[in-house]
Symmetry: C2
Subunit: 526 residues, 2 copies
């Protein structure tokens, strides 16, 4: 029989195969987080890997060779057609016989393919999907990434106009209380991109360990890491994290928390921490960074200079939280210094003095400082501009009000602490957060630049990180991206989130279940 | 230079390499669960994979060809020398130059290599480790497995006499509320063996889905599973689970819970469930199994006959929990039956009538029934012998007392519900359970055959099963294996459990952290 003679047979086969390939598309009914404007019809395209293509629009400032988008096309092709490379040639023969073309055309206004996303990045996009094609337009490549992500979830006819509600949509990982292997960080970045989160707040060091391998001060990790070879982040590891993040439109904001939370620093940097005293003799233990000696500021200046060099983002987190004053108080040199500076017995002044000093260093390096709210609490009339991160439980909205009243930018983390294993179905608890529900002027509201999911490491490492983060962090992600008016009802959001969680599973993210049920593709341990 | 001329050089190399291979041994300081008697010295052997061997003692009833122990030798060799097959020949050359022999001699009194562990299995063993050798003696192959597990953790000079406190040390998985892929079950069995847990209670079906593929009633899974091909356990899957368990000395007790918790059964077995009524007409919804019609008992007899055929264990769990009487009450046929039987308005009598009937079927099949405590609660003077599983919160010890007073065997699950994500450091909560701390005679205490960790599936599937189980289930495992007097203090147990958790990680079990810190081998996602 001639090839053309078996045509109808082949077409039937092909439809079956396309149906299999395309079936996931039909299961994903919604987009998470919800776009600002979304109009959908029921029309659907069957997609064939042979005739599916990404292309740059003729008027696009970015064209082939644009690292960010070329890599995104590669990634998303595999997400749409996960089995393409494993399908047998026989099957593909049949698929070739009657393919439907589908072209995704991407146009961006400004190129910027080799840059980094920053606080002013425009993440807006429009997406128009109709028969045989999708047209994605954005100002920047970062907006194009967000649009591609939405496209994955809506292959049916759709019109989307979309932009984020907040510019700062962060996620904190703590790599000091437990070391997180590189793959765990990269996987988290993947899932952040799927959820349109855009800032990785890397709480890289703290009391228990100092895994950052500093080129200026190698002893910090040599002596302060859990292990000097296996439990560290080398310079190339850090570069890999930053590049992986950049490709996904994610900023990397490192935190070098001081003057407290620095026990591990002391091991590799003798003289940095304050010696605590018992009566008139040193007790042998150490407290926060010693803010009274020049060597401290020289060290911090060198470290921050390195940080500026290694981390391209314009923000750096300086910590400043939970400083215990007992050790400072016990130390006669510190007391002498307090007297000299006229601080009396108010150690918050000493902490402020220290923080102002290192914030000035950061400013001299053209970086914006983020600090935990404690720094603001000590002095509500700041001399310099910094970004405040609100983390304390209780009336966090009161704090947002005060911080914005003082004219400072603010990030809300307090209601997004996900490290404690509250029952999973509590995702609605994060969903129901209203970051702007405080009394204040429009100017004040504009100072709320976003929010952040915090995954502290006391009880979390690579074994339980993913299921504890996902899909609960997605609830925060929608709150920070979408229009609050359109996403007030957690019950309405539930089926979309359930679907999105299954999609995360399909992409290899170990996202835990919301309730009884199943996903077509269950987690397969990879 | 001649080979012998470079001898000292080679020896030095070899020591280095052996140190690397043996280093894990030096980290593991304790055994979990704690053996009944343990004497250790600080002497340690360096182990070389070339000169390490397992052998059967000359007086052993089991010799080469014993499936259970041959397979165990293979498994444990890889656990001791995980990198052996990947070491280069060059390295092995050096290791060959000066190896220390180490022989593990295993002797069992009775063969039984092809049987299954059961309620009367003798799991005791003695282990004597001295320079260059270990001698492991046990009555049964199951005891030898427990001893090999202890051996993994004590390569230094050690004398152990050991036996379990309770014969029944169970772990329940729920594969109905979420489907658990086969690998997740097998992995759980691995970790159970590491913790010396010995009964896998397979809560295989329930309301949400019926994943067990019955050969007698294939429609049960065809219509009642989440998906009839991907979300089922085929007969060969079940055989694989049972064999994997047998090789590790673990019993598989299936639960076919009825008359409640059977919504999914109704889909593939029309007429089985009670039609609920609204006034005088059927409402369209269904309640528990209909206990008033002969077809129900014929069906259950066929199903239980299949269960006997498929599952070798002498126990079968018949459920009997949480039966709602509202539907029965609404149904006129059920009310008529109640009248005929003289039950009045007491539906607990109807439930008891049903449970007695199916327990009689089970007895006729030479199986022992386990039921949830509800069955006992309804009729504290049981006509037949069955095993009661206490699961309700509140004063579970009061219930243990009453059940044993009635002369029934009892299993304690109530304080071991691990499915709710209570903070991890709450492991001590499970550790501090005292299963025999009720007033009663020695005879009563002997009726407490053990306890069981329960991992229900509402919020648990393959994504979060392991970190939620381990290491918290280990706390229960020690409580059920070890001498309570010697393991009263959770603070003392903490460092041993921390170590054991690291050992679980090293073996690929995704066990979550107990607190800040690190393991040499962090979870690597495999």
């Amino acid at each position: 029989m001639s090839r053309s003679g078996s045509h109808s047979h082949r077409v039937r086969w092909w439809c079956l195969i396309v149906a299999v390939v395309a079936v996931w598309v039909q299961q994903v009914e919604g987009v998470w987080p919800l776009p600002q404007q979304l109009h959908q019809s029921a029309d659907r395209d069957c997609l064939s890997p042979q005739r599916f293509s990404f292309t740059y629009g003729r008027d696009s400032a970015a064209q082939t060779g644009c690292s960010v988008l070329d890599a995104a096309f590669k990634r998303y092709f595999s997400i749409i057609f996960p089995d393409f490379t494993t399908l047998s040639e026989n099957v593909l023969q049949y698929m070739w016989s009657e393919p439907q073309p589908f072209v995704v055309s991407v146009s961006v206004k400004t190129r910027g393919c080799d840059g980094y996303p920053d606080e002013d990045s425009d993440e807006s996009y429009t997406l128009s999907v109709s028969e045989g094609q999708a047209v994605l337009r954005s100002v920047s490549v970062w907006g194009a990434l967000r649009g591609l992500e939405s496209l994955m979830l809506v292959i049916n006819s759709t019109e989307i106009v979309d932009f984020p509600r907040f510019a700062f949509r962060g996620l904190l990982l703590d790599t000091s209380r437990h070391y997180l292997p590189l793959y765990a960080i990269l996987k988290t970045l993947d899932a952040m991109a799927y959820s349109k989160l855009n800032v990785f707040h890397w709480h890289i060091v703290d009391d228990p360990s100092f895994p950052y391998q500093s080129r200026t001060f190698p002893d910090l990790s040599n002596k302060g890491a859990f292990h000097p070879f296996t439990h560290i982040y080398t310079q190339s590891d850090v570069i890999r994290v930053i590049e992986h993040a950049r490709m996904r439109g994610i900023r990397v904001v490192p935190e070098f928390d001081s003057p407290g939370h620095t026990q591990s620093w002391g091991k590799g940097q003798p003289g940095l921490l304050t010696p605590c005293y018992k009566g008139s003799v040193p007790s042998g233990s150490f407290g926060p960074v010693d803010p009274t000696v020049d060597t401290t500021y020289k060290f911090m200046a060198s470290l921050l200079k390195e940080v500026k060099f290694v981390f391209p983002d314009s923000y750096v987190h300086l910590g400043g939280d939970e400083v215990s004053f007992a050790c400072w108080q016990s130390n006669p040199n510190v007391r002498k210094f307090m007297e000299k500076m006229g601080f009396g017995k108010d150690f918050t002044k000493l902490e402020s003095f220290y923080m102002e000093s290192i914030m000035n260093m950061t400013a001299a390096l053209n970086k914006t400082s983020i600090v935990w709210q404690d720094v603001f609490d000590y002095h509500e009339r700041p001399r310099s501009k910094y970004v405040v991160e609100v983390w304390k439980q209780g009336c966090y909205l009161c704090k947002m009000r005060r911080v914005t009243k003082a004219g400072l930018k603010v990030i809300l983390a307090a209601p997004f602490y996900l490290d404690l294993p509250i029952p999973t179905h509590s995702w609605a608890r994060y969903y129901n957060v209203r970051p702007l529900a405080f009394r204040g002027t429009d100017e004040q509201k504009k100072l709320v630049i976003g929010g952040e999911v915090a995954m502290w490491g006391e009880y979390v490492d690579a074994t339980n990180l993913s299921p504890r983060l996902w899909p609960r962090a997605c609830a925060a992600a929608e709150r920070l991206w979408s229009n609050e008016e359109k996403t007030l009802n957690a019950d309405l959001a539930f089926p979309r989130l359930k679907e999105f969680r299954c999609e995360l599973l399909r992409r290899g993210i170990q996202a835990e279940p919301l309730f009884v049920g199943h996903c077509r593709h269950e987690y397969d341990g990879l």
